[in-house]
């Protein structure tokens, strides 16, 4: 039973897909219900996995490995050579990403109630996207990873391009081009690795590259290793994104439908960080270490640049978009700090930003539903007509600026703790960004909620209510839970971080 659990988890959205595809196009209500229920099986399964983990079952018990594709005819030398298996597996790091995915997906499916047309196509694509995301975090080899990775791109492209704001098509076009370039780089790197080593299994590759001693099918020179490490870094830096590859993501944030941005900012961007930790850092620790300073630099630039631009935006969605760039800069800084505090902080930041961004964009969706605008100059005084909404917005803004008691503080604190050890000078420069973050968050939130003039028309004066409270409460609850008792998240990811750090420092 255990070995099929992961496959069941990854492909369980198929159930919803099946049900929706049997529905006629016009059945708005039923499709929306099915769409939401379709995200429940993975959610329940991921909770089950989580409870198994906490009851002491080793995560490796869930791994599955089935022969799948074989290239060439080399069984006589080594049956493992040039074979690509269907293999899924789990460790603490991927478990936390899985939970992030299932939770954010379910809540985003709820928020998709705001979708006005084309429900059937929307939910079909949405569920395919979820399969892709779940697969990315469980794939045990690079080929499988790549397949799932591409599986997220295609539905995301259509979701952005069809259901969004005015310039959505342009945004999805930029999304495709940038991610396509990233994918191409990634594919080349994967194929070179495969051709040289005869395997794409991540654990095996990590073993070969870090421990050595295993005779490679074909040798890899050190400069080639640098090239591969760099290729992985570039591919995932585009995905994350960091300065200067960020403009596609700004457009997606601004133009895609808020419920899609919840998934996009909440999970899809995080694949970038996951990939860097797993591949660039995990497989090429030596090369990674010498490139780390560049990562920190990119991180610091993204952090300050994003924050600075967020200060001058007039559209709330753009404030959040640049804030995402800024917060991904923190991830980069943590990843480049080369110590446990930094790396753990980066992972915390990834999860924390996933939750915060999802909540913020959920609120954007709820707001747009009522006001039809997210332009800051058009808004104001919402605290009077929508006190609950304003409370959530303020709480989430405070989480975003790293208020203690919320998840953002833990991650920022650890990243800076790590960075001051490794790169004190850059850290001292970057720390100014914390002030800017406070400035742009407060500016935006207060422009919307404080002040006299009430921007809402009389008939639209209703606070968030009913089902809308569910996503808001769940996300805020998680943000606070991690902020108050960080070991909740620190526990599961500990072993992965230790393994990666061992490879980094163990030579």
């Amino acid at each position: 039973m255990n070995v099929y659990l992961l496959s069941l988890l990854v492909f369980s959205p198929l159930l919803g897909i099946l049900m929706i595809s049997l529905m006629p196009k016009k059945e708005e209500r039923t499709i929306k219900q099915f769409g939401f229920f379709g995200t429940l099986p993975p959610l329940i399964l991921s909770f089950f996995l989580c409870s198994q983990y906490y009851s002491g079952v080793a995560l490796s018990a869930f791994s599955i490995k089935v022969d799948w594709i074989r290239f060439g005819n080399l069984e006589m030398y080594d049956p493992k050579l040039f074979a690509v298996n269907y293999e899924l597996g789990l460790d603490g790091l991927s478990l936390s990403f899985i939970l992030l995915t299932t939770i954010v997906s379910s809540l985003a499916a709820m928020a998709s109630i705001y979708i006005k047309q084309g429900w059937k196509g929307y939910y079909l694509l949405f569920l395919i996207l979820e399969i892709g995301m779940l697969g990315v975090f469980t794939a045990e080899n690079l080929i499988l990873f790549f397949i799932f990775f591409e599986m997220t791109l295609v539905p995301a492209f259509f979701l952005i391009g069809r259901w969004g704001f005015l310039e959505r098509e342009k945004a999805s076009y930029y999304f495709l081009i940038y991610n396509g370039i990233g994918s191409a780089v990634l594919l080349v790197a994967i194929l070179i690795l495969f051709a040289r080593t005869g395997t794409t299994n991540i654990a095996a590759l990590t073993q070969m590259m870090t421990m050595g001693g295993v005779s490679l099918f074909a040798p890899i020179s050190s400069s080639m290793k640098y090239g591969l490490c760099l290729a992985f870094l570039i591919a995932f830096a585009i995905k994350l994104p960091v300065f200067p590859f960020h403009s596609w993501m700004v457009r997606v944030h601004a133009e895609a439908h808020p419920s899609i941005v919840m998934v996009h900012a909440g999970v899809l961007l995080k694949i970038g960080a996951y990939g860097i930790i797993r591949f660039a850092m995990g497989i090429f620790p030596e090369q990674y270490e010498s490139l780390a300073l560049a990562l920190v630099l990119m991180g610091v630039i993204s952090f300050l640049y994003g924050a600075w631009l967020a200060m001058v935006q007039t559209d709330f969605k753009l404030v959040l978009a640049y804030s995402s760039i800024s917060h991904m800069g923190i991830v980069m800084m943590g990843l480049g700090a080369l110590n446990e505090a930094g790396l753990q902080g980066a992972v915390f930041q990834v999860i924390s930003h996933g939750l915060i961004a999802a909540l913020l964009f959920f609120l954007v969706g709820a707001l747009y539903e009522r006001t039809g605008s997210t332009m800051l100059p058009n808004l104001g005084g919402l605290a009077r007509s929508m006190p609950v909404f304003s409370g959530f917005l303020l709480a989430c803004g405070l989480a975003s600026l790293g208020l203690p008691g919320m998840s953002g503080f833990i991650s920022e604190f650890m990243v800076f703790l790590g960075l001051f050890k490794g790169q004190p000078l850059l850290a001292a420069i970057a720390v100014i960004g914390l002030i800017f973050t406070a400035i742009y968050i407060l500016r935006a939130v207060m422009l919307m909620t404080f002040g006299k003039n009430d921007s809402l028309e009389e008939k639209e004066k209703r606070d968030i209510e009913g089902w809308e409270l569910v996503p808001a409460l769940v996300l805020l609850g998680l943000i606070i839970a991690i902020g108050v008792y960080p070991n909740l998240l620190g526990g599961p990811i500990q072993s992965t971080i230790e393994a990666v750090m061992l490879a980094l420092g163990g030579r």
Binding site: I220, P244, V312, Q344, R384, L403, K452, N487
Partner: protein, 623 residues
């Protein structure tokens, strides 16, 4: 009792949660929830203090976050200093909540107000109980949020909105300094726990330069929170909040957190002469700087705000001149008399609905309770003999003298004079002279407001007797007990003439104010002419806000503008290049689909040739 002290901050947190979740349905009943829970906190605090008088320090921790091999812990500690702080905070909070029952009457968002007060009280109590620096920072930021929420309570007013934002951002600047200090200290000592840090400091394992740097960084945090120069500008603006909030947060408790921080980290500061000097000079300068501004302000709350800044400067001066006891003692007495003054000011505002002191006057006979209570507070802060402020200020002067810092000592003496002068200027302008307001419009505040003022009034008068040169220095001896080597003795000895000088100075200030504002024997322009440059500078608070606006704010805006051009043209150009080249490739590719077999054949041949060349050059593969 001390092992259950964790309940002390939990009670106000419960208030906050209950009132928040009830969504304002409780209205005025919410206030009673707040008062009852705060009363519980206060009772527990007193019990903890009483037990701590005899028992040793109590500390307990649990694992909170593991980073690699390092375990960060959460817990609480009850030592002398924070047992005292717990009582002060919960007590003032309790009184302010009772007072607000009357002051905020008719307020639509009554229970929200009490929810915020509960949150602030929770954070402040948590702050003083923290046994390590991370936890301190944790609550340090939370009190900032409490302050932010309460300053911005009247969210629909532009001034309140700006003031709340300014308060948060200005203190955040200080907080960043504190954060860096904490992190650097961790890498020097390997711990966030106070005890282990102090052991490392005393063992001398940290280089001197690092200690100075770290101490100054931590002090920057205190500067932000305690409204010291140059980060003081948020505190006067914070007066946009409801007056009870000003009494609780911006006079008695939160702004004293900076002083508390320096007092808590005192062994670290002591290890660096330079850092001590920075603390003392910043404090001394802020004291006289803010006092001089207070002499010309016209808004009753702003006068008190500048007075708070000045008094906090006094405390910093005391700590910087190794007067640990003096600083903490003044923190305590100041909490009482300044809270009293703010509540009394609130009572005046409540009665006549203006904050402009030039429109007040002749209220002595009308406000039969508020007047004498305001006078008690004014006398206490002026250092009038035998009242609480007299003893604590005397202790500070003694400390400065004993430290041998005569320049700072004279600054402190001048500030004492200014304090007496501007406080009595305020008092006389409100209560003496001709009445400018119709008699029937003036109504004394209800008993629910007067009662807390009365309690504070008594404390402002007698609160000083726990530390006097005549009857014994109980507070001081208890505070430094077991730690004399580090914190110094419980009382600074100094020549008797200092006390006499302090009395004379205070009386001189009072007399001058009396002559100008009560007797009007001297014209109001006797000290500074209204149209003189000095007056304008003082009235405009040394133009600090304007200087910040035209330098830092404009610089940040300028860079923001510049970066948005970078974003538009350079990054936009990059995007165009990328998409353009992809499109270009596509166009070339589609042109190649010409349908001509010869062309296909040629391309295939060329491709093969290129591959062969690569093969020949590399021997099969790239290494």
């Amino acid at each position: 009792m001390m092992e259950n002290a964790w309940l002390i901050p939990i009670f106000p947190l419960v208030t906050f949660l209950v009132l928040l979740l009830s969504g304002g349905r409780l209205r005025e009943r919410g206030a009673y929830i707040g008062i009852i829970f705060t009363l519980a906190s206060f009772v527990l605090s007193v019990l903890a203090l009483v037990e701590r008088l005899t028992a040793p320090t109590y500390k307990t921790t649990m694992d909170w976050l593991s980073i690699g091999g390092t375990q960060l812990t959460a817990g609480f500690e009850i030592n002398q200093l924070n047992a005292l702080m717990l009582v002060i905070v919960s007590f003032v909070s309790l009184l302010v909540q009772i007072y607000s029952l009357g002051y905020m009457k008719g307020e639509e968002r009554f229970s929200t107000f009490y929810a915020y007060l509960g949150f602030f009280t929770f954070a402040m109590l948590g702050l003083v109980m923290a046994p390590n620096l991370v936890q301190l920072y944790f609550f340090w930021e939370l009190v900032g949020v409490g302050s932010f929420l309460l300053i911005g309570f009247y969210f629909y007013r532009q001034e309140a909105k700006d003031a709340a934002k300014k308060a948060f951002i200005m203190t955040r600047i200080g907080d960043v300094g504190l954060l860096i200090g904490i992190i650097l200290l961790f890498w020097e000592t390997g711990s966030f726990e106070y005890e282990e840090i102090f052991q490392a400091v005393q063992a001398g394992v940290i280089p001197d330069g690092s200690i100075t740097l770290i101490a100054i960084l931590i002090f920057i945090g205190a500067v932000g929170k305690s409204g010291q120069f140059p980060l003081h500008t948020w505190l006067p603006d914070a007066m946009e909040g409801p007056t009870p909030v000003s009494a609780l947060i911006h006079a008695a408790t939160m702004v004293a957190a900076g002083v508390y921080l320096v007092a808590t980290m005192f062994p670290l500061f002591l290890a660096s002469d330079a850092a001590m000097q920075v603390v003392a000079v910043t404090g001394g300068f802020t004291a006289i700087f803010a006092a001089s501004i207070a002499t010309v302000q016209k808004d009753i709350k702003r006068v008190l705000a500048y007075s708070t800044i000045s008094q906090l400067g006094f405390m910093m001066l005391a700590l910087g001149t190794a007067g640990y006891v003096a600083g903490v003692f003044h923190l305590m007495t100041h909490a009482f008399f300044k809270a009293l003054l703010f509540l009394a000011a609130g009572s005046v505002i409540h009665a006549i609905h203006t904050q402009d002191i030039e429109r007040m006057g002749g209220l002595w006979g009308r406000l039969k309770w508020t007047g004498p209570l305001f006078l008690a507070g004014t006398l206490a802060i002026s250092g009038f003999p035998l009242l609480s402020g007299f003893f604590s200020k005397d202790e500070i002067l003694m400390a400065a003298w004993a430290n041998g810092n005569y320049f700072l000592f004279s600054l402190a003496v001048i500030t004492s004079f200014l304090t007496a002068f501007y406080m009595f200027r305020l008092f006389f302008m409100i209560f003496a002279g001709e009445s400018r307001i119709q008699a029937e419009q003036v109504k004394e505040s209800p008993a629910i407001m007067l009662l807390p003022m009365l309690v504070l009034g008594i404390l402002a008068v007698v609160g000083g007797y726990i530390q006097t040169p005549w009857f014994g220095t109980f507070l001081g001896e208890w505070l430094v007990e077991g730690n004399e080597a580090v914190l110094g003795s419980g009382h600074s000895e100094g020549p008797v003439w200092i006390m006499l000088l302090a009395v004379l100075i205070a009386l001189a200030g009072i007399f001058l104010a009396y002559m100008i504002y009560a007797k009007t024997k001297l014209p109001r322009e006797w000290l500074v002419k209204k149209d003189s440059t000095l007056y304008r500078i003082l009235e405009n608070k040394f133009y600090i806000d304007e200087i910040y606006y035209f330098t830092i704010v404009q610089l940040i805006k300028g860079i923001g503008l510049f970066l948005s051009y970078v974003e538009r043209f350079i990054i936009g150009g990059l995007v165009t290049t990328v998409t353009g080249s992809i499109e270009g490739l596509g166009k070339i590719g589609s042109k190649l689909q010409s349908g001509q077999v010869q062309q296909y054949g040629m391309i295939a041949f060329l491709g093969l040739a290129v591959l062969l060349v690569i093969f020949a050059l590399t021997g099969g593969y790239l290494r």
